[in-house]
Every structure is written in C-alpha cells, then in structure tokens.
C-alpha cells in the first residue's frame, strides 16, 4: 500500500480564496503532506492562501476551466514521476480523511483509478437537484462506458502512475470527469469505486455546476464523443 508521503493531493481551484487555506490545512492534517494546488487564473488570493497553508502552487495565467486545471496537474505529475495522485475539490465539500479509503481500495483492487463515490453510502443532505444532475450525467456517461459507475461526476479520484502516464484530458470544463472515465476504459485502465462522504455548504453549492453549465458540459462531451471519438483516446 502507498505511504502518505508517496501520494500527492492535487486540488484544482478557481477563486477559492475564502476556503482554500482551510482545505489545504485539513488535507495536511489528515496525514498527507504533499499538496499541489492548480490555481486556474483566480482573480482573488487563492494562490497566496494556498501557499500560506503549505501547498505547492501552479498558476494558470488565465482561467481555462476545471478540466484544463486537472490536466495541468496530471502533466506536472507525469514530469515529476509521481506514483500516485489524489484529486479533490477546492470548495471544501470533500472530507480529506476519505483519501485513506481510496488508497485502501486501490491497494485491494490494484485499480488504476479509484472514484470516490458520493452515492455508494450517501451522505445526508445532498440536495435533490444535485442528485438529479448527477443521475442524468451518470446515464449519459455510462452510455459510452463498458461498465456502469455510481458517481461519474465526482471530483474525488485517485490516479495510479499508469493512469497519470496514459491520460490526456482535452475537455476544459467539467466534462473532463466523464472524459477521464471514457478515456481510461479506452486505454484499458481499470476503475474501482470507494464510498466517500460529502458536506455541502452554501459556499460549495454556489461553486458547483448549475443547470446551464450542466447542459453546456453535456453538449461539449457529446460533441467530442460523436464527432471526434479519436480525440477521446
């Protein structure tokens, strides 16, 4: 099993100044000292707050989207030769202690990707609209997958060295969550799921996808899958 110091926690962040210091501190407090924040062209003090909390920070010169930030994290991880990356959201909805669960499931299954699923052991208080958006996204994503996954839109995922080496995300927006799963299957990477807990606050609810963003994400993903399937590989 991976030791905590062998694992890098990657947090894509955009305008998360009010919470990023706390999120990074919680991750480090959970026993994971290596934290990389990808500041996606934030207009606030996200980068300085993350540095203050002890994270290594890479900053995009302009805002390019969650998928673009995630891929920058992967590209950097590949260059550094990291063996394992766990990606979590920057809005504080995830519980960093769940990283241990993902690591355990990875050790048991030897999967290349472990998805932290909010719906295997559902936390109380997930808003019904979120459940609905996620169900629709699951149906859409699972249509293009060989297997069925309970939470295709989760931002909490563990990636092994093989996944880091092989994945090339091309969608800039939130569609990368589905793209990563479809591409991983195409490349023969194995995927497992582990239950995680989430806590939605007013802050995190304002940061997530709304209906318009969800529709744009779906159109983006469908466009790529239908017209440019080779770009998904």
């Amino acid at each position: 099993m991976m030791r905590p110091e062998q694992i890098w926690i990657v947090i894509p962040a955009y305008n998360e100044g009010p919470v990023i210091e706390q999120v990074v501190a919680k991750v480090i407090g959970s026993g994971f000292p290596n934290v990389l924040v990808i500041d996606d062209g934030s207009k606030d003090d996200t980068a300085s707050q993350a540095r203050l909390a002890g994270a290594r920070v890479l900053s995009h010169p302009i805002n390019r989207g969650a998928g673009a930030a995630a891929q920058t994290g992967l590209s950097y991880a590949r260059r550094q030769g990291w063996k394992c990356v766990v990606q979590i959201d920057a809005d504080g909805q995830h519980h960093p202690e769940d990283i241990h669960r993902l690591v355990e499931v990875q050790a048991q299954t030897e999967a290349d990707i472990v998805l932290g699923s909010r719906f295997l052991d559902p936390s109380p208080g997930i808003p019904p609209t979120r459940v609905l958006y996620n169900r629709i996204s699951n149906v859409l994503t699972n249509t293009f997958c060989q297997r069925s996954y309970s939470d295709t839109q989760t931002g909490f995922r563990l990636l092994s060295a093989r996944a880091i080496r092989n994945l090339r995300l091309r969608l800039d927006g939130f569609g990368y969550c589905s793209e990563m799963i479809v591409q991983a299957e195409e490349k023969g990477l194995t995927i497992a799921e582990a239950p995680i807990q989430v806590t939605y606050t007013d802050y995190s609810l304002n940061k997530g996808q709304d209906l318009v963003m969800g529709i744009t994400t779906a159109v983006d993903l469908l466009w790529k899958l239908l017209f440019y399937p080779s770009k998904m590989k």
């Binding site: 995009h60 302009i62 390019r64 673009a68 891929q71 920058t72 590209s75 800039d172």
Partner: protein, 117 residues
Amino acid sequence: MKLEVYQIIVPLASLGFVFNLFRRFLKSKASWQEAALGAAFWMSVGIFALFPDAISKAIANFFGIKSNINAIIFFCLGLIFFFQYKLFFMLKKNQMATTELARKITLQQAEKEDLQS
C-alpha cells in the same frame, strides 16, 4: 433582361469579395481550400442575385419543394447550420490552443521555480 438595383450591387460586391480572397491567397494569408470555398460561395451569391427566380425554382424542383420561396428558406437554413458548425469548430480549436498555451506557460514557470528551490 431588366436588372433591379440589387442585381447590380450584389454581383459587384461578390466580385469584390472573390478578388479579396484571391489577394489573400496570393499573400499566403488564406489556404487554397479557404480561397476556393469562399470564392465558390460568393460567386454563387452573385449568380443567385442575377437569376433569382430561375435558380430558386430549379432548387425547388430538385428537392421536390412546392414553392421557390420555401426552397430559399430551406437553403438559407442549411447555410446557417453549416456556418454555425464551422464557427463552433473554430471556437473549439482556438479554445484548445489557448489552454495548451496557458499550460505550457504554467509548466515552464513551475520548472523555473523547481530549479531555483
């Protein structure tokens, strides 16, 4: 053949656009595919302005549409969809290039910082 004012203005404007495309191609500012497609488009606009009835009736007959006005509407809708597709494709291409550039800058900066530390 009695010509209306638009039947003089539109073909002349079309010729101007074709000439401009040819000039851009010679200056290597447009590929031959772009120049050829653009020239074909503007020439067909010019010819259509010269013979609107004959062409719209021919299109209506070809597609089995009853009136030539409907044929023009369908034809224009098709053109709009085509240009929409082309614009969307260009937009996506530009977005991908911008992201690649932003990532390159970020990783170069990170490399510098890593060397310094």
